[in-house]
Symmetry: C2
Subunit: 589 residues, 2 copies
C-alpha cells in the first residue's frame, strides 16, 4: 500500500560554526532559523555540534563549557517558534553525549545521542562521550522521521535500520561534521545513496562547513530520495541554507517484514531490538499550526561538485587558510617568498583567501640565491598584486659565522651552516609577525615534511602550514590548475620549470639529497598513508636502498613534525592528529 504524502520542506543549514564561540554560533543559528521560517521550511537541520563547534577537544572536559552550551541551547529553543529544529549540541546526563536536539515551537521535544563514536584517524570521541543506545522515530503528521548523527549512518544496520525499517521512518535526518579529504564527498554520497536504497528512505545529510585547525569541513550537504537519486545538494566549501521540498512515500513495509525474506536481508535485521518508540510532532510552519500553509513550490537546487580534484583541493586550501586566520583573530599574513614553487602556491592561496592587500611577501636572498629566484619572487608578487619586502640576509649570516668562528674551527660547512640561514629567515618573518600582527604562513609541502627536508625553526617557523599535506607532485598540478583558472601565468612558468632547490649552498638541488618527487611521492603514499611495510614497497618494484632510506628519513624526522605548525588535511592520512607516531621509536620497517 503506497500513499503520497504532502510535500515536506526541509532546510539544511550548512553553517560554519567556530569552536568555542557560542555567542556567534547561536546568533548564526538563530538568524538561519528565521530565514528558514520565512521560506516556509518545516524542519531545519544544523550540523553535528553546531552550538559548541567541532571538534572542541578537551574543552569538552570543562564543566563550564558544557553548561554554557546548554544555556546556548535554551536560546535556540526560544528562537524556534512555529518551526522544527534539529541542532547538534553536547548533552549532559550522568555523562556527556554527542547529541541532536529535536526542538519544536520553542520546546525541546527529544534528544538523540550518537551511537557510533569514531575514535580513529583525527577522531577521539571515546575520549569524551558516552554512546547512545536508543533511537526513536518522530511522527510529523503522516510522516515518520529518524534523526541520527554523522558516523551513525556510515555503517549498515542500526540506528538507521531501526528507524527506517522497524520505525517506518521515511526521512532520515543525519547531522554531520564530516571532515574533508580529497574525493571524500563522492564516496560519502555513494554511501548515503546505498543507505537510502537499502532502507527505502529519504536521506537528509546536513554537514558542517569551514576550517578548524587541521580540518576542513566541506559541506556538500545533500538530500537523496528513496532510490538514492539526488533531490538537492549544497555547494562544497561554502555556507548555505539549502531548501528541499521532499515527498516522502508512505510504504507500509509488509514486504520487508515477510519472514521468508529475513535470511536474505540478514544485514538489515538484527535480533533483540524492539520497534522504536514514536514521538509525536506537529506539522508547523510560519504563522500557525497544522495543516501548514502550502508554500509555493521551489526548484530544488543541485550544486555541482568541483570540476576536478585540483579545484576541490584548491577550495579546501583557501577555506582552511581563511578560517584559520580569522578564527584566530588575524587578518593579515606574511610569507617567505623564495622564488620556488611551494611559496608561490602558498602566496596564491593566501591572496585568494585573505585578499592580496592582506598578504605580504618577504624575499630574503642570500649569496646562494640565484638571480632567477630573486626575479621570480618579484614577478610572482607583482602578478598576485601582493606587497613584497626584500631583506637580504647575508650580513646577518656573516655575523653568526663570526661569533661561531672559534667553535666551528676545523669543521666542514654543512647542515649547521645551512640551517643558520633558514633560521635567520624564520627569525625575520617572526619579527615582522610580532611587530605588525601578521600571521606567518609556512610553505613546506608534504613530501618535505615527510622526509624532514625542512629546517625546524627555519622554514618551519610560522603559525599555519598551508600545504603541509600536499605532496610536491600535487603542488605542481595545483599551480597549473591555478594558472589555468586565472587564464594567465600568475605563477610564472620559470617557477614551475626550475629544478627545486633550497638554495642554502652553492648549486644545491633537491635531487642531490632526494629521489625525483614522482618516485618519492609514490613511496611516501605507500608508507605514510597506506601503512605499507618495506617488503610491501619492494614488491611494488621500488629499489631497496631507496625504500630503506625513505623509511628512515620519515621515521627519524617525527621530532620535527611534532613541532610543526598545523596544516590543512587533504589526504586520507595527514600528519598531526591523524598520524600519531612516537618520537622515541626504534622500529624501522
Amino acid at each position: 500500500m503506497v500513499q503520497m504524502a504532502k510535500s515536506l520542506r526541509i532546510g539544511l543549514a550548512q553553517i560554519n560554526s567556530c569552536v568555542g564561540d557560542l555567542e556567534r554560533n547561536v546568533s548564526k543559528i538563530v538568524k538561519t532559523i528565521d530565514e528558514a521560517r520565512d521560506k516556509g521550511v518545516e524542519i531545519v537541520c544544523f550540523p553535528e555540534m553546531s552550538i559548541p563547534g567541532y571538534p572542541a577537544e578537551d574543552l569538552l572536559l570543562k564543566p563550564s563549557f558544557i553548561r554554557d552550551n546548554l544555556d546556548a541551547l535554551e536560546e535556540i529553543k526560544s528562537a524556534s517558534k512555529s518551526i522544527t529544529v534539529i541542532v547538534g549540541f553536547i548533552d549532559r546526563g550522568e555523562d556527556i553525549f554527542n547529541a541532536a536536539a529535536v526542538i519544536q515551537d520553542g520546546e525541546l521535544i527529544d534528544v538523540y545521542h550518537k551511537h557510533y563514536l569514531p575514535n580513529y584517524g583525527v577522531f577521539d570521541e571515546n575520549r569524551y562521550f558516552q554512546r547512545g543506545r536508543t533511537a526513536k522515530v518522530y511522527k510529523l503528521g503522516d510522516v515518520f522521521l529518524g534523526v541520527n548523527i554523522c558516523e551513525d549512518i556510515w555503517y549498515p544496520g542500526d540506528p538507521t535500520r531501526l528507524q527506517a525499517v522497524l520505525g517506518n521512518a521515511k526521512v532520515i535526518l543525519n547531522i554531520s561534521a564530516s571532515p574533508y579529504h580529497a574525493a571524500k564527498a563522492i564516496a560519502r554520497q555513494r554511501m548515503l545513496a546505498t543507505r537510502a536504497r537499502d532502507y527505502s528512505t529519504i536521506i537528509v545529510f546536513t554537514n558542517l562547513v569551514g576550517g578548524q585547525d587541521e580540518l576542513v569541513f566541506d559541506g556538500n550537504s545533500v538530500v537523496l530520495d528513496e532510490k538514492g537519486e539526488i533531490i538537492a545538494r549544497a555547494p562544497a566549501f561554502e555556507e548555505k541554507l539549502l531548501i528541499a521540498d521532499t515527498y516522502p512515500v508512505m510504504v507500509f513495509r509488509s514486504r520487508l517484514h515477510d519472514p521468508r525474506r529475513r535470511k536474505e536481508q540478514s544485514t538489515l535485521f538484527y535480533e533483540g531490538h524492539e520497534k522504536p518508540q514514536v514521538v509525536h510532532l506537529e506539522r508547523l510552519n510560519g504563522a500557525g499550526n497544522s495543516p501548514p500553509p502550502q508554500p509555493p513550490d521551489i526548484a530544488n537546487e543541485v550544486c555541482s561538485f568541483p570540476a576536478s580534484e585540483e579545484e576541490e583541493i584548491w577550495k579546501a586550501l583557501v577555506l582552511g587558510t581563511r578560517d584559520y586566520v580569522w578564527k584566530n583573530g588575524f587578518s593579515k599574513a606574511v610569507i617567505g617568498i623564495s622564488g620556488g614553487i611551494d611559496s608561490a602556491l602558498v602566496a596564491a592561496v593566501a591572496c585568494e583567501a585573505l585578499g592580496h592587500e592582506n598578504v605580504t611577501g618577504l624575499s630574503m636572498p642570500s649569496m646562494y640565491s640565484s638571480q632567477g629566484s630573486i626575479d621570480d619572487a618579484k614577478t610572482l608578487s607583482a602578478n598576485l598584486k601582493m606587497e613584497l619586502i626584500t631583506i637580504p640576509i647575508e650580513k646577518v649570516y656573516r655575523s653568526y659565522l663570526d661569533v661561531l668562528t672559534d667553535r666551528f674551527k676545523g669543521t666542514d660547512p654543512g647542515t649547521a651552516e645551512e640551517n643558520i640561514q633558514a633560521r635567520i629567515r624564520g627569525n625575520l618573518l617572526m619579527a615582522l609577525s610580532n611587530k605588525f600582527g601578521w600571521l606567518v604562513l609556512t610553505t613546506a609541502n608534504k613530501s618535505e615534511t615527510s622526509v624532514g627536508y625542512t629546517t625546524l625553526y627555519g622554514d618551519m617557523a610560522g603559525g599555519f602550514a598551508v600545504i603541509k599535506d600536499v605532496p610536491k607532485t600535487l603542488v605542481y598540478s595545483l599551480a597549473e590548475f591555478y594558472n589555468e583558472r586565472r587564464g594567465k601565468e600568475v605563477i610564472p612558468r620559470s617557477i614551475i620549470q626550475k629544478p627545486p632547490s633550497p638554495e642554502l649552498h652553492p648549486d644545491q638541488k633537491d635531487v642531490d639529497t632526494l629521489p625525483p618527487y614522482e618516485v618519492l611521492d609514490a613511496i611516501l603514499k605507500g608508507y605514510v598513508e597506506d601503512d605499507l611495510s618495506k617488503e610491501d614497497l619492494l614488491s611494488l618494484g621500488h629499489p631497496e636502498e631507496l625504500v630503506k632510506n625513505v623509511i628512515k628519513m620519515v621515521d627519524s624526522n617525527e621530532y620535527k613534525r611534532r613541532q610543526a605548525p598545523p596544516g590543512i588535511k587533504i589526504t586520507p592520512r595527514a600528519f598531526g592528529k591523524d598520524r600519531r607516531f612516537p618520537i622515541t621509536n626504534r622500529y624501522r620497517g
Copy 2:
C-alpha cells in the same frame, strides 16, 4: 577450610623496554628469564607491552610491526624452558589486542586480552585495540592464578573479581605500563591493597620502568599479600628483577559464597557470569618438572619509596631525560645557561642523567644581561663541572636591527625586538646541535609554558623540555632539594634568590608581566589541571582581573605549546598528549 600451599617463587621483571626496538627488548627479556630461572623462580612476569614497548601509538596500525612482535614472541617462547613466563605483547586475531602471553616450558599455553582499554588523559587504547571479554584462571599445582593487564585492576569487579572470587585465584598477576605522576605510586599501591583485601588474593603488580617521550614509567612493582600487606617492592625509576617467595593460602570460599552476604558485597558479585575456565599449568623450575626443587629461602626485598615528593620528581626528571637522550640516539646535550633558576635546574638534571662530561652549557649574554647572571652561569657550570661556552649575541642582534631598520622605523621597541634576541639564542643552540650532534634541552617551566611567557623558536627551540611540567614554585623546591642532597650550594644561592627575569630589555622582571608565581601557580593548577572555571577560581578568592587575564593567556597560547618540544609529565595533567586543546578556540571561561 584453610591449607598452606608450598611457597611459590615469583619474579617481577621491572624492565625498561624501548618502543619499537624489538630486538633489544627480546634480548633483555630472554636474559631476564635466564636470570630468573637461575634464581629458582617459577613464574616470571614482564610488564604490559614489554615486547613492542609502550605506548607504540600508530606503529600499532602497521601490519609489519604486529607481525614482527609476534615473531619476537616466538623467540621468547623458545627461551622459556622449564619456567613460566607472563609477557605483554600485541595479539592478532580478527583485530589486535593488548595481550598477555602465558608461556610455559617453550609453549604458549594461553593468551589474555586486556578488558579495560583506557582512552583518557595520555591514553588512546580504543584507537587501536579490541577489548577482551574472557578471563580464565591457571591452575599451577594446587594454586589458582589469574592474569590481567594494568587498567583491569583499577576497577573493582571483573576481571579481577571473576578470577579471584569465582575462579578461586589466590594470586593475581597484573602486568602494567602505568605512567608516573607525582604521588601516583602511593595511590596505586593503596588501590592494589584494596583489591588484595577485597578479593583475599595475593597481588603481583609488575610495572614498566623508563622514559618514553612525555611519559616516565616509575616501576614500583610490588607484591601484596591477601591482607594488603607488602611482601616485596622494587625500587622506583630503576630496572630490577624483584623476586618474591609467596605462600598462597588455599581458602575455599564458602564464606564468600554465603548468599546472606551477597547484598553487603554487591560490588563483588555481578550477575550473569560463569565460573572462569581453568587451564592447567605444570609446576616447573630449573632443570625439571614438578615438584620443583625447593629453592633456598630468599629474603623478600622491600625497597623504600623516595623520601620526599621532590626526590621522587627529581628521579622522574633524571630518568625521563636520560631515556629520551639515549633512546633517540644521542649521548650529549647542550643547554642555554642564562644564570636563572630554570636553566640551572635543567643543567643539574642533565648532568646527573648524562654525566657532566656530556653536557655543555652555552651562555649568550646581551647588553641586557646583568653581570650577576653572567657570573652565576659561570659559577653554576663550575659547580656542576660542566663545560660552558660563551657567545655574546649583541653583534648578531645589531645586525638584525640593521636590516630591519627601514621596516621598524617609527615603531616602539617591544616584543618583536625581545623575541629576536631569544631567537638568536635558539639559532646558536641549534647551530651547535647541528654541528656536533648535541641534543638541545630547553628550560621553560610549566608556569611559563601555561601563559606563553616563552619565545617560540627562541628559548622554546630544542628537542626535549625537561621541566615543561614543573611549575615555577616547584622549580625552586627542586633546586633546594638538589643542593641539600649534594650537601652544598651547587646551584648558587644567588640564582635561587634573584628575582626571575628574561633579561630581554633593561631592568625587566617576570613580575612586570606576571603575578607572583605563588599566586600564578595556584590559579594555573585550578585552571589547567582541575578544569576549574572562572567562577570556580573567583570563589576560591582569586581576584577577577587576574583570573581573566591568566585564563586568556593560557587559552591564547595553545599555538605555542603545539609547537613545543615534548617534556616529562610529572603532574596529573601535563601539556601535550594529556591536554588536547584546539588552537582555534574562542571560548574564554
